[in-house]
Symmetry: C2
C-alpha cells in the first residue's frame, strides 16, 4: 500500500445538488508524516477532527444495542466507489490503461487492426495523440481488448497485468496505490459487523480480479458495469464468452439499481468522490434513520494529483 498517495484526503462536496440537500462533511483530514498513534486508535491515518469523530460516532451508534440508532448486523451495509475513492484514478482510469496496454497483444493476434484507427495511434506510442482519442475510439479499444474471450481467460489476463504493470508516475503496481485511510475504514467497518461492498463504474470483472487481495472484499461483493456474456459448450466444457455488448452501466442512478440488484438492501453508509456517486449517496440517505454519507476528494497537487494540474 502506498503511503505517499494517502497522506492527504480532502473531504468536500462534489455537487451543488448534493450540497443543497444534505448536511455535508466539508472537512480536511491529514495524515501526519510520523503520526502519534494511540494503541486503541481505530483509524490511525485519519487526523483527529470532525470527519473521524463523525465516522466513529456513527459506527458506535449503529452497533450499540442500547442505542436508538442500533442496526442489526444483517443490515449493516457499507458501499464504496472505487476509482478516486479507494485508489488513484489519475492520469486516467486504471482499466483504460489496461486496455491501452493490451492493444499490442490484440494487434498481434489480429494484424489487420494495426493499420486502422484508433489502434494505429495507440500502437504509435504517441501519448499526445492517444490523449486526444475520442469516446468512440475509446469504445472500439475497450471492445477489442475486454471482449471475445472467456470470463476465466479475461480474469487471468487482467490479473497478470495488475501483477506486473506500474503506474507511470509512482512506478508501483496499481494495487499498491490505494488510500490508507480508506483501507483502515474498510477494516474498521468490517470489525464492527459491516459488510463492505465496492460499487464501481468500472468493469465488475476487472475489479474482482484484485478486490479480495487488495481490499479484503470477496468477488461477490463487487458491483460494477458489465457486458453481456454468452453460455457456450466448448469441447463439452461450459464457458461464458464475453460479448462486445454493454449489459449495465453502474454509474449515477445505475449505482442505486446495481446495489439493489446485487445486495438487495439499501446501504446505511456510502462513500464516493464524484457526481457519479450522488445517487448512491441519496439512496443511502433516503433509507433508515441511521445513515452516513461521505464524499472524499483528493486534490493536493504536491502529494497527489490536482484536478487543476
Amino acid at each position: 500500500m502506498s503511503n505517499s498517495l494517502s497522506e492527504l484526503i480532502t473531504l468536500t462536496a462534489m455537487s451543488r445538488r448534493w450540497l443543497k440537500k444534505s448536511p455535508i462533511l466539508l472537512l480536511a483530514f491529514f495524515w501526519p508524516v510520523a503520526p502519534a498513534v494511540a494503541a486503541d486508535d481505530v483509524l490511525p491515518s485519519w487526523n483527529d477532527g470532525p470527519a473521524k469523530s463523525a465516522i466513529i460516532a456513527f459506527v458506535q451508534a449503529t452497533t450499540d444495542k442500547s442505542s436508538p440508532q442500533f442496526v442489526p448486523p444483517a443490515e449493516r451495509i457499507a458501499t464504496f466507489d472505487q476509482d478516486g475513492t479507494l485508489w488513484v484514478e489519475h492520469p486516467m482510469y486504471t482499466q483504460v490503461l489496461y486496455c491501452l496496454d493490451r492493444v499490442p497483444a490484440v494487434a498481434k493476434a489480429k494484424p489487420e487492426l494495426a493499420a486502422v484507427e484508433p489502434f494505429k495511434t495507440v500502437l504509435s506510442g504517441n501519448h499526445e495523440a492517444i490523449a486526444k482519442l475520442s469516446m468512440d475510439d475509446l469504445f472500439k479499444i475497450l471492445a477489442a481488448t475486454l471482449t471475445g474471450m472467456s470470463v476465466e481467460e479475461f480474469r487471468i489476463e487482467s490479473k497478470k497485468w495488475l501483477d506486473t504493470a506500474k503506474h507511470p508516475r509512482w512506478k508501483r503496481p496499481y494495487t499498491e496505490l490505494t488510500y490508507l485511510p480508506m483501507q483502515e475504514l474498510l477494516k474498521y467497518l468490517r470489525d464492527n459487523g459491516y459488510e463492505t461492498w465496492i460499487v464501481t463504474g468500472g468493469g465488475i470483472e476487472f475489479v474482482r480480479a484484485f478486490a479480495a487481495e487488495t481490499y479484503g472484499i470477496p468477488r461477490w461483493q463487487v458491483v460494477g458495469s458489465s457486458i453481456n456474456n454468452k453460455f457456450k459448450l466448448v469441447d463439452g466444457k461450459a464457458q461464458l464468452e464475453r460479448l462486445p455488448e454493454i449489459d449495465f452501466i453502474d454509474d449515477g442512478p445505475g449505482k442505486a439499481i446495481g446495489i439493489n440488484s446485487h445486495i438487495g438492501l439499501r446501504p446505511i453508509a456510502a462513500f464516493g468522490n464524484s457526481d457519479g456517486d450522488i445517487e448512491m449517496l441519496e439512496y443511502a440517505d433516503s433509507g433508515k434513520d441511521a445513515h452516513f454519507e461521505m464524499m472524499v476528494h483528493h486534490d493536493d497537487a504536491k502529494r497527489e494529483y490536482s484536478d487543476n494540474r
Copy 2:
C-alpha cells in the same frame, strides 16, 4: 418446516443430455418415519446410502487440507435451485399463486381491470378457467401484480402474503413447505465453510423476501429473474420503481450467467431438479477438479405431488 413434504426425495436424472455427459447419482434416499439418528449424523433426514455418502465424502475431500481435492474457503460455493429443489412447486409456482392472490387488490385500485381478461377470469374464482389461462394472460397478471410499486413496497406486500397465505393442499404457510433433507444439506455445507446461494428462475425480490428467515441465506446470496427498476426522487427521497420490463431470466443458460454476475466464481457444488438447472450443473461440472452436482426429484404420489398426477 414440513416433515410431511420431506419424507421422500428421489434422486434421478432429468435430462438425456445431462445423463449422457456425467456420472449421475441415480438413487433414492428415504427418511424413515422414526429415524434412528446417530448423535454425529450430519444429515439425519437422509437415508444411509450412496447419495448421502457421496455428499459427505465430497465435503470431507474439499475441506481437508491434506486432501488433493482441498478447496480454500473463499472458493467453496454451492448453488441451489429453489422451486422444486428447496421447497414445493406444486400445484404451481408459489410466486404465481401470489400474483393470482394479488389480483383483487389490483382490481380494487384500478376498477377498469375487473371487466377485462384475464383479470375477469381470475376474479371469478373459477379454478378450471384459471388453470387454462395462456402464457400471455399470465404475463399480463404478472406485470399488473409485480410492478408499478417501489422495491420496498413490493417487499412489504410479498412478505405480508408469505406470512398469511396457506398452501391449498397442506394448509400451511409456503415457507414451511421446504425439504428438510435440503435444509440439513444447506446447514451442513455452511458448517463446512461453504457459501450457500439460491439460483432461482423465480423473481429475485420475491425469494429475497423469505430467504434469510427460511433458509438462513442473506438477501445478496439470492440470484434470480428480475425486472428493470427506475431510480426516482419522490418528495426528495430516492426510490427504485419496479417497471413492467423484463431485465433478466435466470433459467437455463441464464443460471450460469446469473451466477457469474452475482457470485463471480463457478460453484463447486450445484443442486437442481429440472431441465432449467442443467446449465448450472454443467457450469459447476466444467470448473475445478473437485465438484459435485445433484438432481433431486420428488415424485412420490402418496406423500408428495406426483409428476403423473
